[in-house]
Structures are given as C-alpha cells and as structure tokens.
C-alpha cells in the first residue's frame, strides 16, 4: 500500500510541476470553460421574462456550480492517448511495470490542482460582481458535493478513456469524443438544468451517465431537489460499465497495437 501511495505521490508531484510549466495557458483553459456563465445570462433573462422552474437567483447559483463542476471534469485523455498510439509513443509506457492509465490520470489530477487557484479567483470575482448570488451551503451539501465532484471526475475520465481505446482501431478516435460531446453538452446539464427539460426527456436523461457529470453535483450544492442515493448509485453503475468495457477494449487493443512510427 505504501508503495502504491508513493507512486501516486511522485506521479502527481512531477505532473504538477509539468502543468505549472503551462501556467499562462492554464488561465485560458479555465476561461475556455466559461460557457456556463454565458448560459447563465441567457437563462436569467429568460427567467425574468417568463415562468420557469427556477428563479433568476437560482439559475445564477446553478450555473456557477455547473462552472465549478465543469472545471473539475475537463478531460483530454483521448487526445493524449490517440497521439501516443498513432505515433507509437505508447510503447515507452507499455515497457514500464505500471498501467499507462495512471500517468494520464496523474496528469489530470495534477492539472486540477494547478487549475484550482484560477478557478477560485474567477468564483471570487463572480461573487464580488454579483453579491446577491452568494450563499453558504450546509456542511452535508458541501461534503456530498465534494464526493460527487470526485466521482464525476473519475466517471468522465473513464468514459473518455474508454472511447480513447478506439484509437487502436481507427486513426482519429477523437472524432467519437466530439460526437459524444454533443450529447454531453445538452444532457449533462451544462446548457440548462434538468428542471427545465420536459418530464419524459428528464427521466430518460437521468438513466444516462451524462447528468451525473455536471447537473448532479451542481444540484446538490445549490440545493435543488435531487435523489442523492440514486445519483451516486448511477455513477457507480455507469463507472462499472465503462470500467469493464475499458479493460476489454484495452486487452483487445493491445493485440492490435503495432507500435507505429518506430
């Protein structure tokens, strides 16, 4: 166990140093995830003009929480993995007695740490500009929110890493992710909270993995009515499904791998 923790610590520390090399770019990466702020403006205006399930202030808080959830679930492993497979760089990782996924995962964890201060500044700026939206969630909500964020990060990583496995068979697995992302944007709650969905679509959406990435953690911290137990069970269930698919595709993919470019 100590050896595993030591490996995890070293990987995270080195990749943290690596991510800090991109500190200037990090600010732009954080800003590139500010779609929820844009949608917040749209929904607040709409709520002021008509009847919606949420009031303008609730929309503001929801999209702020969605922004935070989005920042913690930004994943790019498919781009790295595809490049490593297509260019044969995966070979170096396969030669080491550790599954290559841990390097990608450590890089993502480290990036979250490096990104956090920028996110904190943006949230502080938001409350300074819009003080009415400030609220203090209960301790229980905060703890559940933290757990949901952690699981949503893992689930999103697992989802994309599973799609990344197709890089063993096709040259541009990222195309699948781009198609998948279309569903993600609309069904995750990034474009609108599930409260404004038609009831049938909402129920169907809740059976997919998407709302548990953004909507579920955001709803918990904002205090929207949400079935917490069902949410966590769905996350674990979908996580297990993707994990099984991922390991099967990984084993089959390695048989296909030819270490191109060498």
């Amino acid at each position: 166990m100590n050896k595993i923790l030591h490996k995890a610590k070293v990987l995270c520390l080195v990749y943290y140093a690596y991510m800090l090399e991109y500190r200037a770019e990090l600010l732009f990466w954080v800003l590139s995830g500010s779609l929820p702020f844009i949608l917040m403006g749209v929904w607040i205006k709409a709520a002021q003009a008509g009847q919606f399930a949420l009031r303008p202030l609730e929309f503001a808080r929801y999209f702020l929480a969605a922004f935070l959830a989005r920042q913690f679930t930004v994943i790019w492993v498919i781009w790295d993995f595809e490049r490593d497979v297509v260019e044969g760089q995966l070979s170096n990782r396969l030669l080491q007695p550790i599954d290559p996924v841990w390097r990608y995962f450590a890089a993502h964890c480290a990036e979250r740490l490096a990104r956090a201060p920028f996110v904190g500044v943006l949230i502080a700026l938001f409350f300074w500009l819009y003080p009415e939206s400030f609220w203090v969630p209960s301790l229980a909500s905060l703890l559940l929110f933290g757990l949901a964020l952690l699981l949503s990060f893992c689930l999103r990583f697992l989802m994309q890493y599973t799609l990344a496995m197709f890089a063993f068979w096709i040259e541009r697995a990222t195309a699948i992710e781009q198609f998948w992302f279309l569903f993600f944007i609309f069904l995750s709650g990034l474009a609108a909270p599930l409260e404004v969905f038609p009831p049938l679509l909402r129920e169907v959406t809740l059976w997919t993995p998407f709302p548990y990435i953004i909507y579920f953690p955001a709803a918990i911290v904002v205090g929207l009515p949400v079935d917490v137990l069902r949410g966590f069970l769905m996350m674990l269930g979908w996580g297990w499904v993707f994990f099984v698919c991922n390991r099967w595709l990984w084993r089959q993919g390695l048989k296909q791998y030819s270490g191109m470019g060498a």
């Binding site: 990987l11 140093a17 090399e21 760089q89 070979s91 030669l95 080491q96 030819s258």
Partner: protein, 330 residues
C-alpha cells in the same frame, strides 16, 4: 551463468495487414469505398538464441523486420506465430517481473517529459520500478558519471542537445538496471563524439552488469565497437547469424575513400587509384580493397592535389546489399 540462454526465438513471425491506396482522386475514392489490404510478412520464421552477457548486432536494411522483432522480444506486440522467450518469460504477457528485467531504447522515441528536467522523469521511473531514494541517488550518480551528464540533469529536456537527450534517455531506460537491453538505433542522428560516448557507455554497462544486448544500428562503427556476433535480417528472414569478422571478410572487403580535390580531374586519371563510386566536381568516392588501402592512400596523396581525405567503412546498407547479392544463408 554466461551459457544461460536469455533470449530465444523459434519460428517467430509477424504479419501485418496494410491498407493500399493509389494516388490521385480516383485512388482516394476507391480507397474510401473499396478498401484493399495486403498482408505484409514483416518477420518470417526467425529463430535464434542469445546467451547471457552477449552483445549481438542486429543488421538489416530499412523495413527488413529488425524493429518488429525487437518489439516482439520486448513484449510490445504479439507475434503472429512462433515462440519467444526472454529472461525465462513470455514477453507479450508483460508481467511485472519481466518488465523489470528488460528495456527497449528507441532512438527515435523519447520517454522523458519534454518540458521538465530529466531528473523529474527519473523520479517517476524510480517510483515505478520501486527503487529506494538512496539507491536512486547512487544509480543516477553512477550512470550520469558514465554518461558525462552530471550537470545536465536539472535542465529541461527541450534545452538539451540531441546527444545529451539520447544519453538522458539511456539513463532513464537503464535506471532499473535491466539485464536484457534491446537497443534500436541508439546513436541515430548523433554527432561522432556523442556516438563514441554512447558506445563507450554501452560497453561499460555490459561489462559492469553482464547485461545481454541486442543492438540495431545503421552505423557500422556501433557494430564493430560493440558486437562480436551479428545477425542479418532481410525481408523478414534471418539470412546470417555469425561472427562480425566473418560477415565483413565475406561481404565487405572494401573501404571507401572520400576525396575533396583542389580541382576536378578527368575520370581516366582518377580510375588509376581505385574503383570509382562517384564523381561530383572535385568530390570523388573510391572503393578500395582493405589490403590495398595504405598503398592507395599514399599513391593519391603523392599524385593528386588533395584538400581533404577521409576513409570510412562502406555504409552498412552496402555491406548488407552484398550479403543479399551473395544470397548467403547460414
């Protein structure tokens, strides 16, 4: 111990399926709707054994199957047929105990993180291979001294020269002290000094740790400096396995003289000094038998106005070419 067989391949084969595409718009459309594939037999029924501590040169022209063989030996790819055993294990199972015993260095691939100093990447390797801090410092000190890299380990990889980068890659690849080294063009693109220092390092590593080495290189000097035994592969088939002297005596009894003359000379005059390979203005390349080399050089220097003269082994491709022409299989 030295008689122990460490690397064993028996009837090892690898077949790839490659999509074919004709050039032009019509070819593109045909490729889109009716894709055609061809099976490439990259390695065909290759069999050999390497004993502990041996340094073996693995030669062949581009696309002959050298790298594919190394990838199968190191467990990166699955063989299509045949049996392979390295350090007593089946490589493609990639068991931890196997991965801790081997390394594969690819001259055109890098494992070090580009934007960080080599030391950071080495720390990851130390953690992955479960090397203690004390042992890590000792090994890094020892290897960096052997490679003359002590003052370079704190610089970002991107700031290092190609030669320094290659040395750092070697350090990273050998930090866990593997007993079996697969080296694929480890001196590719390096200048002469860097090539010499990498060769010296590999020789020292082999002597210190009794490591078994299988080395591919297009530089004849790498092979002559390190290997007593060579294997030659062409079109996926092993066509020579024996001593280096035997290979050179039989297939490369010539050396090459490159001249830079003060002024161009007619071919009729030049051909008196040896077999002419090429003439480009004042630059001339001769092919001269080894036993006549001294005589030919002194003859040239005495009779021609020479600005520069160099004597080199023929490129390995030429040696291999002669092996193929002879159609030798042994």
């Amino acid at each position: 111990m030295r008689d122990q067989i460490v690397v064993e391949a028996e009837g090892l084969s690898k077949v790839y399926s490659v999509a074919l595409k004709e050039p032009g718009f019509r070819g593109t459309l045909r490729h889109l709707f009716r894709r055609q594939y061809r099976l490439i037999e990259a390695v065909q029924k290759v069999s050999f054994q390497i004993r502990a501590g041996e340094v073996v040169g693995f030669l062949g022209p581009n696309g002959a199957g050298k790298t594919t063989t190394l990838k199968m030996l190191s467990g990166l790819i699955h063989p299509s047929a045949g049996r392979v055993c390295v350090a007593g294990q089946v490589p493609f199972r990639r068991e931890t105990s196997f991965l801790q015993k081997i390394t594969l260095v690819m001259g055109q691939k890098q494992q070090l993180l580009w934007d960080l100093p080599a030391l950071d990447s080495l720390k990851i390797n130390a953690a992955v291979y479960e090397i203690s801090d004390v042992e890590f410092r000792y090994r890094v000190g020892e290897l960096s001294e052997m490679l003359s890299l002590q003052d370079k380990l704190n610089q970002p990889i991107r700031k290092l020269s190609l030669g320094e980068r290659m040395k750092a890659e070697l350090l990273a690849a050998l930090l866990h002290r593997p007993s079996v080294l697969f080296l694929d063009e480890p001196t590719l693109g390096l200048d002469v000094n860097a090539q010499v220092s990498v060769r010296d390092f590999l020789r020292e590593y082999n002597q210190c740790y009794g490591a078994t080495v299988l080395l591919t290189s297009h530089y004849m000097a790498d092979i002559t400096a390190l290997c007593q035994r060579v294997m030659v592969i062409d079109a996926g088939q092993l066509i020579y396995d024996g001593s280096l002297e035997g290979l050179l005596d039989r297939f490369a009894p010539y050396r090459e003289i490159k001249l830079e003359l003060a002024a161009p000379q007619p071919r009729e005059i030049l051909q008196a000094y040896g077999e002419i390979e090429s003439i480009e203005g004042p630059s001339v390349r001769f092919c001269v038998r080894r036993e006549k080399m001294t005589q030919a050089v002194s003859h040239i220097l005495a009779n021609l106005d020479v600005l520069d003269l160099s004597v080199t082994d023929p490129p390995i491709e030429e040696v291999i070419g002669r092996v193929f022409k002879a159609g030798n299989v042994s």
